[in-house]
């Protein structure tokens, strides 16, 4: 990917950008409705369960980081091929691509739904989806570097908006609604924590392109920081949701964080600013989906042995758009979301554990004499 004009190719990502990308992958599409998934299970302690999930996710991220440090210049598929041999490795790569596809479809569906239900009510959701996917296609053409740079800018904006939101919401929020602290009990909280870990586990998507990080020794730390940041943001969002709406209220509304944004205002003149927040969150969701898209097609390109992933962009985008339109109603979407949240955690734990275990057992590291290493491409 280095045919850029100018003096030398610079396909590099920095440490901060990995942190930001990981954080966005974790929270960007999930935090709107996370409370709705977790509160029925954990009660008022949903935010604690998010933190527990974050702890799980930290473990996953650290393992993934070790894996990346062991094979600094390999993409995920390449790693799998080295550890398990070509056919099995390609299969693992395909499962990874499938996982990314599910994340993509579900994430884009959720974001489109939020935009459609809340604001553009008579516009056909296909159109909103189309705009999403056109932007994702453009971002994928431009490559991970452009996405990383833009992510840094928009992440700061999103974090700033969330800070503003919490500041504005503090006078209206009732901290008492977070009591009792243990919510529905320790058991349900742990269960909800495990569900929340699925959000954090999405961070393994980063494995597909972490070889572009300049200094691989920081990979573990970067991913862990990103996961921690993302889950902290989700915890705050969930906590505020409970404080503003109460447990029953959360089960009642479709997008708790959106309702929270609707409730706050700045004095008399800026009262219904939730569309501003939503526009910013939409951009974060877009960048997350672009990253996942990129990870997916580079993996597929590696599996198929292509040198350049660009021919795959449009077909895969059509696939993603079609998948995202499968759940036709809100209820179906939440059904799929619940199923995803319950089962995907296993995959996100299994992937880095299996690869790392295989690499450690076979004693493999980067730098071995492997003719299949095609290097950067």
């Amino acid at each position: 990917m280095g045919d850029r004009p100018g003096h030398g190719s610079r396909d590099e990502i920095y440490y901060t950008q990995i942190v930001v990308i990981t954080a966005m992958i974790v929270f960007a599409t999930g935090f709107l409705a996370a409370a709705r998934v977790l509160v029925p299970v954990a009660g008022t302690a949903a935010w604690i369960s998010v933190l527990i999930g974050g702890a799980f996710g930290l473990g996953i991220a650290v393992l993934a980081g070790y894996l990346a440090a062991r094979f600094p210049d390999h993409s995920l598929v390449r790693m799998a091929e080295r550890v398990f041999g070509a056919p099995l490795g390609k299969l693992i790569g395909l499962t990874f691509a499938a996982y990314c596809t599910v994340v993509l479809g579900l994430g884009s569906r959720e974001s489109v739904l939020a935009m459609w239900i809340a604001f553009l009510q008579t516009t056909p959701p296909v159109l909103i989806s189309a705009v999403f996917y056109v932007l994702i296609i453009y971002a994928a053409y431009l490559g991970i570097e452009a996405i990383a740079r833009v992510s840094l800018i928009f992440f700061s904006l999103v974090v700033a908006s969330l800070l503003v939101l919490t500041a504005l919401a503090s006078p209206v929020a009732v901290p008492g609604r977070l009591l009792p602290i243990v919510g529905n009990g320790l058991g349900p909280v742990m269960r909800a924590g495990f569900l929340a870990a699925s959000y954090a586990g999405e961070s393994i998507v980063v494995l597909a392109f972490i070889r572009h990080l300049k200094d691989k020794r920081g990979a573990s730390r970067a991913m862990a920081t990103g996961v921690a940041t993302g889950m902290a943001i989700m915890a705050v969002a969930t906590g505020f949701g409970v404080m503003m709406l109460g447990v029953r209220g959360i089960s009642r509304v479709t997008f708790p964080v959106l309702e929270t944004a609707r409730m706050v205002g700045f004095g008399q003149f800026l009262e219904r600013a939730e569309i501003l927040f939503l526009a910013l969150w939409f951009s974060a969701a877009l960048l997350k989906l672009a990253t996942v898209f990129y990870a997916s097609i580079t993996s597929i390109a590696d599996v198929l042995g292509l040198r350049d992933y660009r021919p795959l962009i449009i077909p895969y985008a059509l696939l993603g758009a079609a998948l995202s339109l499968i759940p036709k109603t809100v209820l179906e979407t939440f059904d799929y979301l619940n199923a995803f949240v319950r089962y995907s955690v296993w995959y996100t734990i299994a992937l880095p554990v299996v690869l790392l275990a295989g690499a450690v057992i076979r004693g493999l590291r980067e730098g071995g004499n492997d003719v299949r290493d095609r290097g950067a491409g």
Binding site: H7, L120, I147
Partner: protein, 597 residues
């Protein structure tokens, strides 16, 4: 290239004609003289490679075109010159003189009136060969054909820049750049000396980058004057000015300036390589070089900085940029450019820190406003009326009642009207132009509101947008923002804030992928590093101890970390720092402490 034409008959005839011409001794082209062979044109680094098929073919054939030596007799020379330059150009002067040697020699002075300075020609050439006392002592007979010109060069003709040339075509080239030639009867070479002295605009205040405080010298069209301005400000011997000629017919001098040991040599090599590849007829302005050499010519965003101010040019050179000065253009280019640099104005540095910083931040905000304000207004008033405070919503609705157009059409009307006013006021003569701009805008706005064509709020929105876009110091960036504003307007009218955000995302992604000479466009805004001190906000001048890194200069250290050591707190910090020996952060904090006193 043989262009395919519709009529096959004409096509065949033309092809045959061309084939027939190949064998001719002197190939003729549509528009003029044959081109010089490649080796003769090579001068300095890089060659303007003419791509005509004739010289290409002959080059491929391996045969060098014949040398054009200087004819033996002055008449022969005159005939040859008239051949080359046309039979009767009134500004081509060929003046026969007799040199007062013993025995006397005939000579001919050849120059272009208007290019060569009359004084120089008279004093240097004519006076020296006709009246100088040394001349009669020369024994002309002892001088042969080969060395008489060199002797004249070293002994007789008093000029600072002087050379002998054996090839008459090259002599013509030099004379066309403003030098004068002295042909000596019977000599194999010709003396060519510097005599440039044409009319030019003097050093004036730059028209486009006016400042309240700061030097008021601007580049002019004369290359030598410009390079002199640069040399005066950077008196280091490391300042290199490599010259090349661009343009087949214009042979414009282009100077590439950089500081050796500071500027990254790869950057210099890239710039030179790209300029070498330029193949064009004439180069009237540096703007064409920009388009020829930038990474993404189709992007609306400019990728090179330009400036009319030598102080800004030198500041850029000292940061590791490569500067390009073009003869005939007062705009000097600097490569690479990035987004933050287009919002910087030299005034930021000349004014003190408390004003410089906020002013720069204000410009960024103004840039954002200029890009999004009309689109934001349209989006909110069409889709998101719940965002407005009730009183404002009712006021907007009330002001919109008499207007027959939808908001989008209204916005487009006003924007187009503003653009028309802007464009027309650029072209009108000065006194009329300013009045017209002002009056036009007032009348248009007021009359339109009274007629009920637009609402007063729309006028305010458009006016604020216009003002914001004028605060951007770099004109092409302002143009890019103007262009993109229309795109965002359409998107927001279609999909509200969602469309606006989608448009902004697309622009951001485009900027994220943009590079300027291989260096990412958004570079200084990326990770926290010293160069961020100068990007969106300008920190105090004494904190700029590292150079900005985006141009990857070889030498990172610009100035000492603690400069104001005469201030009590700072001296202590410097001592502590040198004791610890490490790179402790927070010189800002130290300086702040001392500033607070």
């Amino acid at each position: 290239m043989v262009r395919p034409t519709w009529d096959k008959g004409v096509f065949t005839v033309r092809l045959l004609r061309r084939l027939a011409r190949v064998g001719m001794r002197r190939p003729r082209m549509m528009l003029g003289r044959p081109l010089l062979p490649l080796e003769e044109v090579a001068d300095g680094i890089g060659t303007a490679a003419p791509g005509a098929e004739d010289s290409e073919a002959s080059r491929k054939a391996g045969a060098a075109p014949p040398d054009s030596p200087i004819p033996d007799t002055l008449d022969g020379v005159e005939r040859r010159l008239r051949d080359l330059l046309g039979k009767s150009s009134p500004d081509v002067i060929m003046r026969r003189v007799v040199i007062w040697t013993n025995p006397e020699i005939d000579a001919m002075l050849f120059y272009i009136e208007g290019l060569a300075s009359r004084d120089v020609v008279n004093l240097v050439a004519l006076r020296s060969v006709m009246l100088a006392e040394r001349v009669p002592a020369m024994d002309a007979g002892a001088l042969g054909r080969d060395n008489i010109a060199s002797v004249f060069m070293t002994h007789i003709v008093p000029s600072g820049q002087i050379a002998v040339l054996p090839c008459i075509d090259k002599v013509v080239d030099h004379v066309l750049t403003g030098e004068a030639a002295l042909f000596i009867e019977g000599a194999r070479e010709c003396v060519v000396f510097e005599a440039k002295g044409w009319e030019h605009r003097g050093i004036e205040e730059p028209h486009t980058e006016k400042v309240v405080r700061g030097p008021r010298e601007g580049f002019s069209e004369l290359l030598r004057a410009n390079t002199a301005l640069v040399r005066r400000r950077l008196r280091t011997p490391d300042l290199r000015m490599d010259s090349t000629k661009v343009g087949r017919r214009s042979k414009t001098d282009v100077v590439i300036a950089y500081v050796e040991g500071l500027t990254n040599p790869r950057l210099v090599a890239t710039v030179k390589e790209r300029i070498d590849h330029i193949d064009t007829d004439i180069l009237p302005d540096s703007g064409l070089i920009e388009e020829f050499t930038e990474d993404y010519p189709y992007s609306p965003f400019p990728q090179m900085q330009y400036t009319e101010r030598p102080d800004r040019f030198c500041a850029g050179l000292s940061e590791g940029l490569v500067g390009i000065i073009v003869d005939g253009s007062p705009m000097a280019l600097m490569a690479p450019g990035n987004l933050a640099s287009f919002f910087q104005s030299p005034e930021d540095y000349y004014e003190r820190f408390p004003y410089g910083g906020p002013l720069r931040a204000l410009r960024f905000i103004a840039g954002v406003i200029a890009l999004t304000f009309p689109a934001l207004y349209v989006a909110i008033s069409l889709f998101h009326q719940e965002m407005l405070p009730t009183k404002l919503a009712l006021a907007i609705a009330g002001s919109h009642v008499p207007v027959p157009f939808p908001v989008l059409v209204e916005a487009l009307l006003m924007e187009v009207a503003l653009e028309l006013i802007r464009e027309s006021s650029v072209r009108l003569p000065d006194p009329v132009g300013q009045t017209m701009g002002f009056v036009g805008a007032l009348l248009l706005g007021d009359a339109a509101v009274s007629a009920g064509l637009v609402s007063p709020i729309m006028v305010i929105v458009v006016a604020v947008t216009g003002l914001a876009s004028f605060t951007i110091p770099h004109y092409p960036t302002g143009l890019a923002i103007r262009l993109l504003r229309f795109l965002l307007l359409f998107l927001s009218a279609a999909l509200g804030l969602f469309g606006l955000m989608a448009g902004l995302m697309a622009i951001a992604l485009h900027l994220g992928a943009l590079t300027s000479f291989g260096i990412p466009y958004l570079e200084p805004l990326m990770k926290p590093r010293p160069s961020l001190r100068d990007a969106v906000w300008r920190s105090a001048v004494f904190t700029f101890n590292k150079r900005p890194e985006y141009a990857e200069p070889l030498d990172q250290v610009r100035q000492k970390k603690f400069i104001r050591t005469w201030a009590p707190g700072v001296a202590e910090m410097a001592r502590k720092e040198s004791r610890e020996g490490g790179d402790g952060g927070g010189e800002d904090g130290g300086e702040k402490g001392s500033r607070g006193r």
